[in-house]
């Protein structure tokens, strides 16, 4: 098994002038290819900070972070953009679809920045939307879709460039329980197909859908254990 994420002695300090907030303290963790992991913690526990670092959107940290073997701290801004584009599929709590832009176009965006040809990415975007069960709604605008549907478009978009990891930040935070289960089932299915999925959440039942739970408190890992499925 390949080690897809390797973090060692990660520290992050927010310097707001008067006070220094130690958001992450000596965090070391490694995630293998094909794992299905939940990162849990209350707000302020440092899980969002970790999420931003894992997502290569924040490189102001101390320590080492290897994503698919690439050291992140040394990368330039444009190289980070490229890494995000190729290696990471984001799913956000607030869906983050571009307004007044069809589902299809939204799914195409990562492929546009990846430099894929127009016909090719159109076919792929259609296939991905088909896969998330929105084959009938490719031309719908985000405001014409329900919350669950929006999140499924976002998942299709996250899969666009066949990323090394899928990074979902509170993916069910804005959804009702029915849609939440739909989305989590979908992540489970993706993981069964071999995808590495990391879900950041504060909800216990969501975390229980995964196979491994890493708990955060005050910027430190307090527990890291496998989920024992009942039955």
């Amino acid at each position: 098994m390949k080690e897809i994420i390797k973090i060692e002695e990660l520290n992050k300090v927010y310097d707001t002038g008067a006070i220094q907030v130690h958001a992450l303290q000596n965090v070391s963790v490694s995630i293998m290819e094909g794992e299905y992991v939940a990162i849990m913690g209350q707000s302020g526990s440092g899980k969002s900070t970790l999420m931003n670092i894992l997502g290569c959107m924040d490189r102001q940290f101390q320590g080492t972070y290897l994503l698919d073997g690439i050291p992140i701290v040394d990368q330039g801004e444009n190289d980070l953009s490229r890494i995000r584009n190729k290696k990471i599929g984001f799913v956000f709590q607030a869906f983050q679809l571009i307004p007044r832009t069809s589902a299809l176009k939204n799914v195409e965006i990562p492929m546009i920045y990846g430099g894929m040809k127009a016909e090719e990415r159109k076919i792929k975007a259609n296939n991905l939307l088909e896969k998330v069960g929105l084959g009938e709604r490719v031309h719908h605008m985000p405001n014409e879709l329900s919350g669950g549907q929006k999140q499924r478009v976002a998942i299709a978009r996250a899969l666009a460039n066949d990323p090394a990891i899928i990074l979902a930040d509170e993916p069910t935070g804005n959804l009702d329980s029915h849609s939440s289960h739909e989305i989590m089932d979908f992540f489970t299915k993706l993981n069964e197909e071999g995808a590495t999925v990391i879900v950041v959440t504060h909800e216990e039942d969501i975390a229980q859908c995964t196979k491994r739970i890493i708990r955060f408190q005050d910027g430190q890992i307090v527990s890291d254990e496998k989920v024992v499925k009942e039955g």
Binding site: S81, R84, Q96, I98, Y113
Partner: protein
């Protein structure tokens, strides 16, 4: 990628139609006024040039200035002087003589009209043939034989007789205190544009008569006219003519004042050119104002779309991608404004030209410069907002409400 950005820009312009249009309005007004003003200047220049073309650009007039304001025979010209000069210069001068014109009351029936009569000398090469509508033009024979003939311009014909074809009719007038009766042998088309009339305060010539009936044989004339053959180095020939006249009339060289049509034309031309350049530059200031409008709206747009920028960055957009997206949007707004402004400017000039009855000159170079300038204004003023957009931190931008 550029194509994708162009599509994005068009999409965003369409999504905010009213706002985009109002932003463009600054550019539209600026560009259309620059084009209208510069084209108006160019049109006037071409009208002036065309008017001189009718006279022949080789035409020049010369007179002898007296420093002490005492004018004697040696300051004036006779027919003999003219003939002598023509002989001395050989074929280089196609015509040497006097231009005579007078304003006279012309009567036909009970109607009286003031008309400017222009005398034509034999071999009248200094004047391009006017467009004859009826009858014929004066010829050398008419002039040598001092025929009481007249060729009227169509407008004057209508004013006097109420119709254009008046060949064979007679008009009564007074020339050199003598009542004369002139037979109309031709009518020429009045080609003077309304603009030219405005500038001249009237027509150039209403009627042509043989010069021989306007001038008496041995009269002294203030000024001598000559026409240089077109293939000559006119400046050089002109100075030789001046030198010859100085010797012939035994005068100082600096007292011989010579004005050629070409000089006059180029001085009017350069005056008009600098005038339209100055007014055009003032109009160009409005383009800067339009540019500021674009910058303002782009800043609003960048703030409004902070989240979109964050999403795009998270999904792999590089700094340059975001920058180009907003730059193209700004340039597209101003180029579209420039294009509409160009069309508006050209139509304003064209409609104006139609009203005044002048063929309009719109130089492609002016249009090209105006559109290029508007796109540059868009790029220039779009640069700061685009940079601001590109520099946004993705984490912050995604959290923006």
């Amino acid at each position: 990628m550029i194509f994708e950005n162009l599509k994005l820009a068009m999409f965003s312009i369409r999504a905010n139609k009213m706002r985009s249009f109002l932003t463009m309005l600054g550019m539209i007004i600026g560009i259309s006024s620059v084009i209208a003003i510069v084209s108006l200047g160019d049109t006037m220049r071409s009208v002036v040039a065309g008017e001189y073309e009718n006279f022949g650009t080789g035409l020049a007039g010369v007179y002898i200035m007296s420093p002490d304001d005492v004018y004697t025979d040696s300051n004036l010209f006779t027919k003999e002087d003219a003939d002598q000069l023509k002989e001395a210069m050989g074929g280089e001068l196609t015509y040497v003589g006097f231009r005579s014109s007078t304003r006279a009351d012309v009567k036909a029936g009970r109607k009286t009209e003031t008309v400017s009569l222009t005398g034509l000398a034999e071999n009248p090469t200094e004047m391009k043939d006017p467009k004859i509508m009826y009858g014929r033009m004066l010829n050398d024979k008419d002039i040598l034989e001092k025929k009481n003939f007249v060729v009227l311009d169509s407008t004057t014909a209508v004013n006097i007789f109420g119709q254009e074809n008046v060949v064979g009719k007679t008009i009564k007038t007074t020339i050199q205190n003598q009542a004369e009766e002139l037979l109309v042998i031709g009518v020429f088309q009045n080609t003077d544009s309304a603009l030219m009339k405005l500038m001249n305060g009237g027509s150039v010539a209403d009627a042509f008569v043989p010069e021989s009936i306007l001038l008496s044989e041995n009269e002294y004339q203030w000024s001598l006219y000559f026409c240089m053959a077109e293939d000559q180095d006119m400046t050089q020939l002109q100075s030789r003519v001046v030198a010859y006249i100085a010797r012939m009339k035994n005068q100082d060289l600096e007292n011989i004042i010579c004005n050629s049509a070409q000089q006059e034309m180029s001085s009017i031309d350069s005056m008009l050119a600098s005038l339209s350049a100055v007014v055009g530059a003032i109009a160009a200031i409005s383009l800067v104002v339009g540019g500021i409008g674009i910058m303002n709206i782009m800043l609003v747009s960048v703030t409004e779309r902070t989240r979109e920028i964050g999403i795009r960055k998270a999904l792999g957009a590089r700094t340059g991608d975001i920058m180009i997206q907003f730059l193209i949007e700004a340039a597209a707004i101003s180029a579209a404004g420039g294009l509409i402004g160009t069309l508006l400017g050209i139509s304003v000039v064209a409609i104006g030209g139609m009203i005044v009855g002048v063929g309009v000159v719109v130089k492609p170079s002016v249009v090209l410069i105006a559109v290029a300038f508007s796109a540059m204004v868009g790029l220039g003023f779009g640069l700061y907002p685009a940079k601001k957009a590109a520099k946004k931190d993705p984490v912050e931008a995604l959290r923006y409400e």
